[in-house]
Symmetry: D2
Subunit: 471 residues, 4 copies
């Protein structure tokens, strides 16, 4: 169940599942002949894991990621969700301008029967320009789009959402439901003692219609209380301390924040690459423009602020990791600017322009300039698939420690509720309280691979290759 | 001892050692105040290795690479070498236009006393345009620069080089000598049965002045016979099968080929990044231009050919690793073009312009365009330092297997002679016969880190972070 | 009548005329709602000319280019042509992958009835890889694709083409026919005394089936002998001296060479911009890749050579124009490299990557790097329209000099046969013998505008704006 | 006399005059051998004008711009000016990090004796971060940097500046003085009736210390009252209506606003190029970052606002010129964003990253991405030279109309006080009231060339080339 089902990501996600499930094929000016639906861009569906070295050929052996262990197949997903706009998913797909026109034509009939459930709209959390879309919101007399009216009855919203989840599960006879936020970026909620610092205070604040309880927090609380995993694909601080405590208390899984699809993902690779090579990045300028509704919402300063915070931290752990390059004498940080502009003309083709300016040996410099044209929703959708596949998988993993005090326990235990194993797909990984985020993509990938390997009894990949290197 | 000591890399290497050893400081228009000499760009001198997680703070703990184990300090290097041009290193440094002018001024007096030894020049192996530089070559009557004259007496050249090595070692009372080729790219030698396929045949061919024995092979053979490690920083096939057999026979270390400093290094990261993300690169266009003597030599087609082969293979192991993206139905390979042009105006500031065009989900595309201005020699010099530091270290590593047939052996054994652990710094890693090259930079890095960790008794880095992820 | 009617340019040209004539509208993922057919990119159809300053508002007054004088409307074109491949234009359009899929669907029925006439194929003039397309060629027994067979009877080819032109004109009851080459780039013909240096020698050589007479020269000669203008949109030297003399003798118009659509056009603006600003370009690196059949043909070295020559000259007149920046002391020329690579994956979306490196005051530098994704045929097609519109117009312009010896002449005279007024659209403008080409785009534009103005009695645009500047 | 003499432009300007006057030569890592001082980037000193066609060779004939008419030689400039910081010009040059280190060394002795006069500092007009530099300001007790103290006595500031001008002229026995603002960008002044709408109101406001009278307006008023031309090289609205009226009343020359050196200049060429070609620009994204003091000041929002306004208008006249591409149906404007970020690391090497996204025929698109590394002050300094040379020249041009009512006048008249002929060098050309700005660089250039030609009796350049085109 997606929050923001009618948005560009939401409809593209639904379309990708339907197109693959039904083996659709389509034409476009960009390639000869028919193109088959696929899941490119999904780590779980389109990438491989190294198993080891074939002792006969000395070659590395790889296996598709989703064959190493029993994962859910995204073709088996049943999709629903909420949206503040009431367009059915066929109309919303056409509005999105993401998919090839011929594919849209072939999907229309599949998409038109899915219509978003009514969603929660507290106007001051997203840009004022979203007002024009908000015609499908939960509240008495939804023609009244005033903040006062819409923000009334927050606890009833929690119950409304819980009810939606239960109904969906029952009506479709499902094993499991996961809720994922791919709706508009909200402004940050103010963190305040007594308001959202503990689970109990948060629940009280909801019941008192406190102004700092955001729609996304309502969805998170509802999901946790239903025991349904909740993933935050946008940058806002949905997971105020009270939400994390609630998730711990209810043993319910959460993960976030903010899909890591494009510029930041590449930055986490390139900046790491430089620092690992002993080269000192001096400045990173990151400019973006996009013309979809995400960009339209982010053209508002408070929403942009959430995004900027999410994107800014990506180099922090690299800087801390290298005190030769980043110390008091030679400069402790990287000049880093992030700009996002709404440019209607470019539509969903998000453009990222980055410049990395670095210091080399003996006063030399290196300058890397990148122009990256991403199709925003086609990059984000496979991340949604991966997050859902991996979250579902994580709910089935349990363990027992063989040593220490826990060794005598009878029961197997589940993961800690904050699923940091999903950090690979998230720009500003939510961590367990007391831990720092790991942003390096390669470390995140290593974690995934080594965890998969562990579950099938293989040691971590070490690349020592003694077969070749020793006599 | 560098072959090509008077070239841009050679003089910059010498300058970097002298500037650091003597704590030089210098001015430039590019920064305020004085800049101290440093070894930026060197993995061994300026990067760190993760040791583990501090159990009290939950933070990752890093240590400088060169403090994890006892490495040689490059400040202690004694530098000599050969060059076909007789300019002393101060003149050569000024010709190179690599270092800031003020640093050149401060280095002049240190550099002027180092003058290259006479080198080997067989004119048909490098571009004809190098003729004008060749005034410092080994042979009777060096005024006669004809191929016939210069290619006579190849075995005597082997002995001449061996003698140079011995003299240098003795005169400076050195522990160890390493020979590294950073001279002009040669054309490929033809591999021919009976000529260079075995150690014995190769030695015979040298004695018979066979036309397909290149200068670099002469240097390699001389080094091996002296028991001195030999590293090839250029792309040519110095290591014909006969050289590898000779190294095995003499238990002498070799490594190559071709410094991986700029475009290819980044490609090995970016292409891997895409494939790992399940995105299918369709084409990679790689254009370069540079104006130093390396570029001048490469403007000749046969020398460029060597370079192209070296640069071309970098994606091969990625393609083979993912049969979801690269199979008969969707296309088994990546369109890949490599161009290098000599543009005198840009000097040592090599420009790389790359375009990555990839396929996303459902017929979408991603287009990444990169413009990268590298200071060629300032990027290559730290690689030379790393290769020397690591090679020296590898000569001191020995092992004994605890299980299997070898377990009863008394003696510790050295590495296999082809040092593939150095692949991180090499574009087209020379492998042990029967093995395929690993080009992925992250794998190469993992190999280095995990090997260092192993030697101090730490397990491989697995990033599992159970501290955070389990209850 | 286009030579190469079934190519990407040919079918796109036909499609653009049909789509505009029939007011077609179509969908695409790239924009919301229906897009109307238009002639964007055509100077004659989509740009304006300044008439002067409105004395009441002090504002500049502009008029559409095609309204200043009576031009032909491209919607009234009747299109035919030749191609070595026999696909009808609907099939060829689909093969081209140029137009939006929905527009292709709507055009199919209009396009399918146009089928190319048989063309001339002398295999050694174009790349060997074009052989597979050549199934629609003039000659006895066209199953025999040998050079010997196909190159026989060149004079009969002239007559065959003349006959095609006459038939087309009569059957469609046309006022005028223009022939334009938009087929494959040919290799250069060798210019040889006695062979193609005079009109008579050339005609003899055709009659003798001389090997250096290219297909394009056959088309040019046939057109001239029919009194029909002939325009060369490719870089080869169709216009050997004998052709120019023949055009002069027959008073028939010719123009060329090579459509100036993308990289070169922009270079003629940017390099001029720099030099006009007193900035000294030191090097220009121009890299291209494309995946259409033009690129496939140009992957052959001799055909690329023709292209390179055509692209190389563009800066020559700028260099000559400024002896302050380009003299013996500071360097007389610009380092300039041109590379074209065939990359199947990018299709008709030609990519141009350029770097301009320039010298500023006091040893400073400026570096401009450009990445330009052009849709090759959508840029070239409007040029074809402009060339045809302007050529048709030029055939109707006559003049009489009012002074000098000619003043007493009764008759009005036409333009000199080489139509250099068309240089704006041509990369390597063919000039009158004894004149140098003008490559500067602004000069070429000024010529067009001032000529139009002259014909309606207006003085040249001088931008003096005395209205504003004097008291 | 420069306002902002101690800034990057000010010191580079002084250095360029001194280096050229004294024929200095210097070393740098970027080129072999000594580099001579030059005036590259100056239109008047380093570009040429076409005179016509040589009738014997048919070749275009060019002459250096500064030889066509008697211009002042910048080597003869005597330089002084004001700055809010008291560093002498040698110290300021070193702080600027603009010139090659060796050139700085050679200039030090020439520069150190020039020290800026005390300047005017009204703190709320420039960024608060400039406070730390302000140690050289006119006012009683300059240790008191409060707004209240510094903004007192504005009319006395006018008189102080007038006195400075007179003293400088007398002491150096000069023919003429020109004042040019190259200091910090100020915030916009509010235009208000009764305050700055007429000359008299403005003078009253100055006498009353009105808060909306900026330092730059004080300098402009002082210059006008001294009869000395005043040029505004920054974007703020120095020229409030009252200043323009004052200039008219006093027959004193003014020109502005904002040096057009880099991104905007190129945009005025490229956007024009597209529109002239009938291509429709849909969006232009312009990102900049720089690390000099100009950037530091612009990091403040109100100062950036002035800059943004100045940069934004550049496409307006193009859009208005083409109603085929820009009309109600297809979209009347271009999405246009402008961003400037302060990135300390890049220093004076300003980076401009632009993307032009345009619509081609039949729904196609063109995407041009540009990365431009400019040395900010080395590009701006030649513009200062050109503005001074041309302004000085304009003060010597007078005319008499031969027809109309003025024909009987005895006296020759000077130019109208707003020198729009200088628009070529200015981003947001100040116009005569009632006229719109002309931003197209080619039109601005044509105005200059045709005016020069007119003065030596040549007709406008028309490029008709009848020599070649008629029989």
């Amino acid at each position: 169940m997606l929050v923001g089902l009618g948005g560009n990501n939401g409809t593209t996600f639904l379309a990708s599942v339907l197109a693959n499930k039904n083996n659709l094929e389509f034409y476009s000016k960009n390639f000869k002949g028919l193109k088959k639906a696929n899941y490119y861009g999904s780590v779980t569906q389109s990438s491989t894991i190294k198993l080891g070295i074939n002792p006969e050929t000395n070659e590395d052996v790889y296996i598709p990621f989703n064959e190493i262990l029993p994962f859910v197949n995204p073709n088996d997903f049943v999709v629903s969700g909420w949206d503040i706009n009431n367009s059915n998913c066929s109309e919303a797909m056409q509005r999105a301008c993401v998919l090839e026109y011929d594919l849209q034509s072939k999907l229309k009939d599949y998409m038109k029967d899915v219509t978003p459930l009514k969603s929660i709209y507290y106007p001051d959390f997203i840009a004022i320009n979203q007002n024009e879309r908000a015609n499908n919101v939960i509240n008495r007399g939804t023609n009244d789009l005033s903040l006062e009216n819409l923000s009334k009855g927050k606890w009833s919203h929690v119950e409304h959402i819980r009810n939606d989840i239960r109904n969906f599960k029952n009506e479709n006879n499902l094993d499991k439901v996961i809720v994922l936020w791919t709706a508009n970026t909200e402004r940050y909620s103010v963190i305040e003692n007594g308001i959202n610092d503990t689970a109990d205070n948060l629940i009280n604040s909801i019941k008192n219609d406190h102004a700092e309880v955001s729609p996304s927090t309502i969805f998170a609380v509802a999901s946790i209380l239903e025991g349904v995993p909740y993933i935050n694909g946008s940058p806002q601080n949905t997971f105020v301390p009270g939400v994390i405590e609630l998730a711990e208390r209810e043993h319910s899984f959460i993960a976030g924040d903010d899909f890591k699809s494009g510029q930041t993902k590449m930055k986490s690779v390139l900046a790491q690459f430089l620092v690992d090579a002993g080269i000192k990045p001096l400045s990173i300028a990151s400019y973006n423009h996009l013309g979809n509704n995400d960009g339209y919402n982010l053209s508002s300063p408070m929403q942009f602020k959430s995004k900027e915070i999410s994107k800014r931290g990506v180099c922090d752990d690299m800087i801390e990791s290298n005190q030769i390059l980043f110390n008091d004498k030679v400069g402790k940080t990287i000049d880093h600017c992030i700009v996002i502009k709404y440019m209607n003309a470019v539509g969903d083709s998000k453009v990222a322009m980055d410049e990395y300016y670095s210091e080399l040996m003996l006063g030399g410099h290196n300058r890397i300039s990148i122009h990256n044209v991403c199709e925003d929703s086609l990059l984000a959708t496979p991340l949604i698939i991966d997050l859902l596949v991996m979250t579902e998988f994580c709910t089935r993993v349990t363990y027992k420690k063989l040593d220490g005090a826990d060794a005598t326990k009878k029961e197997f235990e589940p993961f800690y509720p904050v699923l940091t194993l999903l950090s690979y797909w998230l720009k500003a990984p939510l961590t367990r309280p007391g831990f720092k985020a790991i942003n390096g993509l390669m470390k995140q990938r290593a974690a995934l691979e080594n965890f998969m390997r562990l579950l099938i009894g293989l040691p971590p990949l070490d690349e020592l290759r003694f077969e070749e290197r020793l006599l």
